[in-house]
């Protein structure tokens, strides 16, 4: 199979003789390294500028950094679990959106549209206020702490996004493929499993990764609901120290954590997008 390299070149920019792929990769790597340097040095400079003597601020930041990192770990954990739940539920909902049974199709569409068009923050509020603090199944009691409720709120949002991706992916396969499988007496399940999904899996990957990026970027919303994730801890640290000059370095440190995690993922997504975009 041949790989198509898309020429994502500006129509009016000069043509270069260097192979596009390598040039782009070098540029991206250089850009990344540069960005990391900027992101790491700007907070330090901010700290320096704010206090005049960088030592004090840096020491304070160093003192709190492990705790903030721990909080950031909860952001990652919430994003993983919510993405897992959201993907499983979303694949189911997406397949239901192309069901042959009209009421199933309509119900799945309505659920998708409802959760997709409601801001994640509102879904979080709903999860927080409308879910009980524990679930009882006979003797089994499952506690629902805020971070778990937040995960459920995020999952609803992700489910709806994934559902749309799956519906789009399934419908992008020409109807002739469905027809050919049907003529060979495949069941609906086998048609999806053996013919349709293998063909659209690759093209669903980049949008799925984009949805993950949206997911990780929305995890600080849990802070509004009192979950002790990165943003909450950063804010508590600032108010515990009570020095306004700490605001800039602490926030920049948190922004840098997200950036360092997210930027490589978005570069990778972009590469996958370009690789799969042109194939028919």
């Amino acid at each position: 199979m041949t790989q198509h390299t898309v020429e994502h070149q500006h129509p009016l920019s000069a043509r270069s003789s260097v192979p596009r792929g390598r040039l782009a990769r070098t540029a991206l790597t250089a850009g990344f390294v540069l960005s990391v340097i900027v992101v790491v040095t700007v907070p330090l400079y901010g700290a320096y500028a704010a206090t005049g003597t960088s030592a004090g601020t840096l020491e304070t930041l160093a003192k709190w950094a492990p705790l903030i990192l721990l909080g950031f770990g909860l952001n990652l954990l919430m994003s993983f679990i919510a993405m897992g739940i959201g993907t499983v539920a979303g694949v189911g909902l997406g397949i239901a959106q192309v069901s042959q049974v009209s009421w199933v199709r309509r119900a799945a569409w309505a659920a998708t549209e409802m959760f997709r068009n409601t801001p994640t923050l509102i879904l979080l509020f709903m999860a927080m206020f409308l879910l009980p603090f524990e679930l009882r199944f006979g003797d089994l009691v499952i506690a629902l702490p805020p971070w778990l409720k937040a995960i459920l709120g995020f999952s609803l949002s992700m489910m709806a996004y994934v559902s749309e991706i799956v519906r789009g992916g399934l419908q992008s396969i020409p109807t002739t493929q469905w027809e050919a499988a049907e003529a060979l007496a495949f069941t609906r399940r086998d048609t999806l499993r053996l013919v349709i999904i293998p063909q659209c899996f690759k093209q669903m990957l980049p949008p799925w990764m984009n949805v993950y990026a949206i997911m990780i970027m929305s995890t600080p919303l849990a802070s509004i609901l009192g979950v002790h994730e990165g943003l909450t801890i950063t804010r508590s640290a600032i108010s515990a120290e009570g020095q306004p000059e700490l605001l800039a370095p602490f926030y920049l440190f948190l922004l840098a954590l997200f950036f360092v995690y997210s930027y490589p993922i978005s570069l990778w997504t972009l590469r996958l997008e370009r690789r799969y975009a042109i194939k028919h």
Partner: protein, 248 residues
């Protein structure tokens, strides 16, 4: 023309079908005997392809009756699996599964639908690919094959289900003139082996040579039909003549 002692393998009686408000089939009736090669010709939009899709229930009919080996298919209790084991179909655009090799395309349905033993299916699939003269192309992906080669894989894929009737929907219409022949040769061999074939086609030469019976459809009806020699020599209906004059 059918032998009175044998029942027709396909019997179509007064079939009606509309897509929304557009009538596509308006009372079509025909019988196809076992081993017969029936060619359906006619202008585009005359309902030929829809008729073919009705025969294996890809398109449900509104009214009338279609019997395959004396079993009614226009019934809610229809077992589509049994029907499609009996009736194979080959499409104009081949519709091979692009993510599977030629051999895998042929093997998939017998393994997953008929639950047959994989080793046995593979032997048969290789034999079928050889039969359609594609030995050596087993591991090629559809995208690496020419149109004619892809269409022959599609024929082999259909044959792997051991159908009693094969439906061909304008199978040469998307092919280059040079590759049309290799596909027609394959179909002719099938016909000579006694396979019942129903073809929607624009290849008048082929219909004349290989066909046992020619049907001319227009505006959802069969206007005229008969054995090819008779049909092409003295078609009487003005619409048939107009069509034949344009095409020949």
């Amino acid at each position: 023309m059918t032998d009175a002692s044998t029942l027709p393998i396909v019997r179509i009686v007064d079939v009606h079908k509309s897509f929304g408000l557009v009538p596509v089939l308006q009372g079509v009736s025909l019988d196809i005997a076992r081993g017969e090669v029936a060619c359906i010709i006619g202008p585009s939009g005359s309902g030929k392809s829809t008729l073919l899709r009705c025969i294996n229930a890809l398109v449900p009919i509104d009214q009338g009756s279609i019997l395959i080996e004396n079993e009614e298919i226009n019934t809610p209790s229809l077992d589509k699996l049994t029907l499609r084991r009996k009736v194979g179909m080959v499409f104009q655009q081949y519709n091979l599964f692009p993510h599977r090799t030629a051999l895998q395309n042929v093997m998939m349905a017998p393994i997953h639908v008929l639950k047959q033993d994989k080793a046995a299916v593979e032997t048969r699939a290789r034999a079928l690919l050889k039969k359609v003269r594609l030995e050596g192309k087993e591991d090629s992906f559809p995208g690496e094959l020419s149109g004619g080669q892809q269409q022959r894989v599609a024929i082999a894929r259909s044959l792997a289900m051991n159908p009693k009737v094969m439906l061909f929907d304008e199978v040469t219409a998307a092919l280059d003139p040079e590759t049309v022949k290799e596909v027609l040769v394959t179909i002719r061999e099938l016909a000579e082996e006694g396979m019942t074939c129903v073809l929607v086609t624009h290849e008048m030469g082929f219909a004349r040579e290989v066909g046992n019976h020619v049907y001319f459809t227009d505006k959802g009806k069969i206007v005229e039909h008969g054995p090819p020699a008779e049909f092409f020599a003295n078609a009487s209906h003005p619409r048939t003549r107009e069509f034949l004059n344009q095409i020949l």
